[in-house]
């Protein structure tokens, strides 16, 4: 796989491990790059950084398990549009922001007003020379480039057409829901969100839907002292054919960051989470539940997480669960870095693959790097099949095999789902998962 990727990207692997200058030139050439207003400097800086680092090649250590070629290709494969829209969170009072092919659709969205927050749209705000988001746009992304390069995040900062800018000043009870819709066939979408939670503020951000034929998202989140940020993203089969998503978070003193993502099928997905804990007594949890079926197109789902502890008495958790069948591939690369002085760090990481057949695979690369002596860090990774004994036990009580498998799969995912704090949101996800699994079990 590694070698063909390099060839497919048209690179000449020599001294450089990256994809080569020609690949980057072709990639940029195919894009319509905005000049930007308040983001102009950040975009210019991104252009220079990207030139210096190049796009990833298959020999890059960080891309060892996922072939970057389809992300490097100048144009995405066309993708038939299916209009099935998710009804996830429909029953919940929330503020809806609709993006069609990566561009904000004001007519389809709720008014941009909410108590305790200020919402702007990137494409509109970027007409002007100054904005509060100027302090953050591309900034967290840039600091997330150490110790590993993330060229697609840089590309996003350079190319982003649109996104939301939310400044939260109070405790916002009503979640903000970004709904993505697709319209075009071969859309190559770059969306960039910037969120700042002022001290003591609280926000729940929901994301659902198909962003584009090929999507690249960056979400930068700055969480102030004692603020709380909850995030749930959900992607289904026809939403996510080829996508790379990044979340860059900086977590302040006593603050909370919680992100959960659900992926149900799709094709090639790479999610990068980069979390820097900079204030004492902060909490950062990131989790995912992934269901992949290789029969619906080559399924490959890669979660790559980096959590850096730079303060005392902070807690971090990474909980990744992937259910794979029919040749589906699940990847997890997760690192906990405890910087010097980050005493009393409590770091935890678990990644598990449940293989429903022998053709599927789960690969995990857990890493711990610790430079403080008084810390508690643990990680674990398992790959296994369904528990046959439990399956028989359920069936012996009259539960049909398909239904028993659904129950066991849900129980496997439970730890990840438990990372969703809001019970209504968790139940919504659970119900959806149950329905989906049940309908699949029959088919």
């Amino acid at each position: 796989m590694a070698d063909t990727a390099v060839l497919a990207a048209g690179a000449k692997p020599a001294a450089k491990t990256g994809a080569g200058d020609a690949v980057l030139a072709a990639r940029l050439d195919a894009l319509d790059l905005p000049v930007g207003g308040f983001t102009a400097a950040a975009r210019k800086d991104a252009a220079a950084r990207l030139q210096a680092m190049g796009l990833p090649g298959a020999r890059d250590e960080y891309w060892r398990y996922t072939n970057p070629a389809p992300f490097n290709a100048p144009l995405p494969e066309a993708l038939a549009y299916t209009s099935r829209e998710s009804s996830l969170f429909d029953g919940i009072d929330r503020l809806k922001l609709v993006f069609v092919d990566g561009v904000f659709d004001a007519a389809a969205s709720d008014p941009l007003t909410g108590e305790g927050m200020q919402i702007d749209i990137l494409s509109t705000a970027d007409a002007g020379p100054a904005h509060w988001a100027g302090d953050l746009y591309g900034k967290l992304e840039t600091s997330g480039q150490t110790p590993v390069k993330r060229p697609f995040a840089v590309l996003n900062t350079l190319a982003a057409q649109d996104g939301v800018l939310i400044r939260v000043t109070g405790k916002v009870a009503r979640p903000v829901h970004i709904l993505y819709r697709r319209d075009g066939q071969a859309t190559d979408v770059h969306v960039h969100h910037v969120i700042r939670l002022e001290p003591g503020a609280e926000l729940t951000l929901l994301e659902t839907g198909g962003i584009g034929a090929r999507s690249n998202t960056v979400t930068e989140v700055e969480i102030g002292k004692g603020a709380r940020f909850h995030h749930i993203a959900s992607k289904r089969a026809d939403d996510a054919k080829l996508g790379i998503g990044h979340i860059f978070a900086r977590v302040g003193e006593g603050a909370l960051f919680k992100s959960f993502s659900l992926a149900v099928n799709g094709r090639v997905m790479r999610n990068e989470g980069v979390i820097e804990i900079v204030g004492d007594d902060a909490v950062a949890h990131i989790a995912a539940a992934v269901l992949g079926d290789g029969n619906e197109g080559a399924f490959h789902h890669d979660d790559t997480v980096f959590i850096a502890h730079a303060a005392e008495r902070c807690e971090s958790r990474q909980v990744y669960k992937k259910v794979l069948k029919n040749g589906a591939e699940g990847i997890f690369q997760g690192k906990i870095l405890v910087k010097p002085g980050a005493q009393k760090t409590d770091g935890y990481q678990i990644s598990q693959g449940l293989l429903l057949d022998e053709g599927s695979q789960f690969l995990a690369k857990p890493e711990l790097e610790i430079y403080a002596d008084d810390v508690k860090c643990s990680h674990g990774s398992t790959t296994g099949a369904l528990d046959e004994t439990a399956l028989f036990y359920l069936r012996s009580r009259g539960v049909p095999k398909e239904q028993a498998i659904v129950l066991l799969v849900l129980s496997f995912l439970a730890d990840a789902l438990d990372e969703i704090e809001d019970e209504r949101l968790r139940d919504d996800i659970l119900t959806r998962l149950d329905e989906w699994l049940t309908s699949r079990a029959k088919g």
Binding site: A390, F392, S396, Q403, L408, A414
Partner: protein, 252 residues
């Protein structure tokens, strides 16, 4: 319900190892039969084969429930037909709540039999009532299936499932092992409460003491994959007093 096992031969699927070597046994409707026998004689294997666990191969013989061919059914079909096995080692299922488990099982069986599913209100009422008599507290019902349960709690949980599902052919595999006297009495009372003219029991046990509480109609002694002797309750007392030595010597 009546269970008929005739000349049942079973080997391990992956290994050339014969475990049951011609078991013949009949449990008529409404009767309680006990099977006793030394460790390794094949008692659990018999219970697993009857309930449809993978890994075994029937090479000869038959097993029917009210005349229907048990061995041709899926495990869930056997359950819906009225068969229940209280496991010697109840299985832990992390992540599945005991309540969810019970309700899913009960409703699946009702559905298979063409009955309506129980409303959550009716289900709750039923489960609370049954749990109370078995001294199973609400906390235990909330926990994942058998996770963190003591040995005795697991066995009581098996009986709770039996009481909820109301099977008509109940197999209890060493439900008494690991129980203290009080817990055993609870289990025995649970079983006795279910005794009825349509319901039959096959009680696998090592000890006479359970049979003091659950009075069997017939006692079978199993050894090395066969029933070597069948008799009345007095047979259990004989085993308790003299061990299996004499019986084994008798059959040679």
């Amino acid at each position: 319900m009546s269970l008929n096992i005739n000349n049942l031969h079973v080997k391990l699927e992956d290994e050339d190892k014969q475990i049951l070597k011609g078991v013949t046994l009949e449990v008529p409707a409404g009767e309680v039969h006990a099977i006793m026998g030394p460790n390794g004689s094949g008692k659990s294997t018999l219970s697993y084969v009857l309930s449809g666990r993978d890994g075994y191969e029937v090479t000869e013989g038959s097993a029917t429930l009210d005349g229907a061919d048990l061995l041709a059914m899926e495990p869930e079909e056997r359950a819906a037909a009225g068969l229940f096995l209280a496991f010697q080692y109840p299985v832990e299922i992390p992540g599945v709540g005991n309540m969810t488990f019970l309700r899913t099982a009960l409703n699946a069986q009702r559905k298979a039999r063409g009955e309506e599913e129980l409303s959550s209100g009716d289900f709750l009422k039923l489960v609370r009532e049954k749990a109370k008599t078995l001294k199973i507290d609400a906390e235990m019902l909330k926990r994942p299936v058998n996770v963190g349960f003591s040995g005795g709690e697991k066995k009581r949980n098996e009986i709770l499932q039996m009481a909820m599902l109301e099977p008509r052919m109940c197999i209890l595999d060493e439900t008494d092992s690991g129980l203290d006297v009080d817990a055993m009495r609870l289990v025995a009372d649970g079983v006795n409460a279910l005794r009825s003219p349509e319901r039959s029991f096959l009680v696998i046990t090592h000890y006479q003491r359970l049979l003091d509480h659950i009075r069997p109609d017939v006692v079978h002694i199993m050894s090395n994959g066969r029933i070597i002797k069948t008799g009345g309750p007095e047979l259990a007392i004989e085993v308790e007093q003299n061990g299996y030595g004499d019986l084994l010597a008798e059959v040679g």
